[in-house]
């Protein structure tokens, strides 16, 4: 269970270019659901997901994960929570260029120092699950948008996180690939994962696999369905 209480985030506070990205969001997110955050560009979707995923801290308010307050955790513990709990799929994939697909997928596990053979087997199994086993040795810059997206999902899942966060996962995909991706997110829910998605793509938030749609506008909750 993730609890958000009056969460606010302001960038460049006190300066001329001060920007209130999130203006006070209170919300409870249930586990093992696919929740979609929607709203126009600049509505605060990405910022909210980044705070939930312990990538950044709220300016004020509280975020708790299973009763543990995330917002006040020291940086080191934040990282541990992030590593144990969350997997991220970014809008621009954020794969590391110059490395192969397999190396990118294994990367989040390096600091945990698993057995090399075991890690390779897990990474290959994930790639096979997402139809990417033939691309394991390819450099990521050679991949198409859909392939890169699937590689990013494999990377997000390598440490077996409980919660998957995806920011505009269909932004670079055509509609066929977008449907495929929504199916994949649904499969993850079936495996017991919590899936949080930021998207303003109707294909995503209108999908039958989505459990809940939260609409944001100007950094505030507009609708919760």
């Amino acid at each position: 269970m993730i609890e958000l209480r009056d969460v606010k985030k302001v960038f460049n506070q006190g300066r001329g270019n001060e920007l209130w990205a999130v203006r006070g969001v209170t919300l409870d997110l249930e586990p093992r659901q696919v929740t979609v955050f929607t709203g126009p560009s600049g509505s605060g979707k990405t910022t909210l997901l980044s705070m939930i995923g312990a990538l950044s801290r709220p300016t004020s308010g509280r975020i708790a994960l299973d009763g543990t307050l995330l917002s006040n955790l020291p940086e080191r513990f934040m990282t541990q929570v992030r590593r144990r709990t969350f997997g991220f799929v970014f809008q621009r994939f954020n794969l590391i260029r110059g490395l192969t697909v397999l190396e990118n997928v294994m990367l989040p596990a390096y600091p945990l120092a698993p057995d090399d053979g075991d890690l390779r087997r897990r990474a290959r199994a994930l790639l096979a699950q997402f139809g990417m086993d033939a691309k394991a040795g390819d450099k990521v810059e050679w991949l198409s948008g859909g392939e890169a997206q699937r590689a990013a999902i494999c990377r997000a899942l390598i440490n077996a996180p409980r919660i998957l966060i995806a920011d505009e996962p269909t932004a670079n995909l055509d509609s066929a690939l977008s449907r495929e991706l929504i199916g994949l997110l649904g499969e993850l829910q079936d495996l017991g994962k919590t899936v949080l998605v930021a998207s303003h793509d109707p294909l995503v938030f209108d999908s039958a696999r989505v459990s809940r749609v939260v609409e944001l506008r100007d950094g505030l909750l507009a609708e919760d369905a």
Binding site: R82, F90, L99, N159
Partner: protein
């Protein structure tokens, strides 16, 4: 422990791939870094080698050399002074020496011609018409034992010497330009008076008595000057130390420029590198993991440069006679036959060089990386 090592292996793997992904930047850095280490190590190896060799060779030399001086200039020593010295307590042996310099216009180098002292261990006094020469003369003139060397005597007559043997390499610092010959040949070649020596040598059994003996000599023979072995060693040390210092001062600017270059190229993170750190943190790497990875990256680069630079310097100094520094560090060696130092590595010097090259680089790179690594990954990625 096993997990720790495995984690380091993963980080090193990643560091190697990071180095390979930006080959232009890292090759440029490696090149400049290697050059700096090469130059500093060359100076250090060369001066250290000269000092060591001087100390080793001079350790065999007599405790006191007595020179006659007239108006502050070195003059020939009358043979009767040996008798005037008489018996001084502590002096185990005394004898007159014959030695001088000869300028060879054929190779534009000065040779030191010398009659071996009595009881010389390696080579006794050469037979009439024969010489024993240092490796420098042999190299310069292309001589081998059995060859003849023709020189013009003080009276303008050609004088042909047969090379009987070469002096060992281990004494090259002082023997490179040395030519040993018999006393009669020496006197004839230089037209040297029969009742004169170049100087007088005294051997003292107890090193603590050397200064006392020197005082007695100055009183007995007021127109002479005793030169102690420890003074010669000190002079060598000072000369090489001064030259080394001079070169280091000149190189100071270069090292400073390197540190600025390292800061700019290695630590001044590009947008792509900052983004990469953000990605690593967002997928679960701790700040410590990022710093360790960057530490390995810096360590691989700096150690490669250090060993490469040091090996090149070693080859430069000991196999190519420090061709770049010869005129600066040898000084008087312009008219000196080629000199090839004996290979020698001093552990403390290696450690000092390591500290002054690897440490500044590591500090220069780690601070901005730490600053990037402690920022929220979200902010780094934006």
């Amino acid at each position: 422990m096993r997990q720790f090592l495995r984690r380091q292996r993963y980080l090193i793997d990643y560091s190697l791939s990071a180095l390979a992904r930006r080959p232009g930047k890292h090759l440029a850095l490696l090149l400049v870094y290697t050059l700096v280490v090469f130059l500093l190590a060359s100076v250090m190896l060369f001066t250290q080698s000269l000092r060591r060799e001087a100390a080793l060779v001079l350790a065999q030399s007599p405790e006191i050399i007595l020179q006659r001086q007239i108006a502050g200039r070195h003059d020939l020593m009358p043979a009767e002074y040996l008798d005037r010295i008489g018996r001084i307590r502590g002096v185990s042996a005394k004898y007159g020496r014959l030695w001088g310099y000869f300028y060879d216009p054929a190779v534009r180098a000065n040779y030191t011609l010398m009659v071996p002292p009595p009881g010389s261990p390696a080579h006794g006094e050469p037979a009439p018409g024969e010489i024993v020469i240092g490796a420098g003369i042999a190299r310069t003139r292309g001589l081998e034992p059995g060859d003849y060397l023709s020189l013009r005597s003080a009276r303008g007559e050609p004088f042909a010497f047969r090379v009987a043997a070469l002096l060992p390499h281990s004494t090259e610092l002082v023997s490179a330009d040395l030519m040993l010959l018999g006393a009669d040949d020496f006197r004839r070649f230089f037209a040297f008076p029969a009742d004169r020596f170049t100087d007088i040598v005294l051997q003292v059994r107890n090193p603590r008595e050397v200064r006392k003996v020197a005082e007695k000599l100055s009183l007995a023979l007021p127109d002479t000057r005793p030169i102690l072995r420890e003074e010669i060693l000190r002079t060598y040390d000072a000369v090489f130390g001064w030259r080394q210092g001079l070169v280091f001062v000149l190189m100071g600017g270069m090292v400073l420029a390197f540190v600025i270059f390292a800061w700019d190229r290695a630590a001044g993170l590009s947008g792509e590198e900052r983004r990469e750190i953000g990605i690593l943190k967002s997928i679960g790497w701790e700040t410590g993991d990022v710093l360790r990875m960057k530490f390995w990256e810096g360590a691989i680069l700096s150690l490669t440069a250090f060993f490469l630079g040091y090996l090149l310097a070693y080859a430069h100094v000991f196999y190519f006679s420090a061709a770049l520094f010869e005129p600066v560090l040898k000084g008087w060696a312009v008219l000196y036959p080629d000199f090839r130092p004996i290979p020698f590595v001093d552990g403390i010097q290696v450690a000092t060089l390591f500290f002054f090259t690897v440490f500044p680089y590591t500090v220069a790179t780690i601070v901005p990386i730490w600053r990037a690594a402690v920022t929220d990954p979200d902010a780094v990625m934006r």
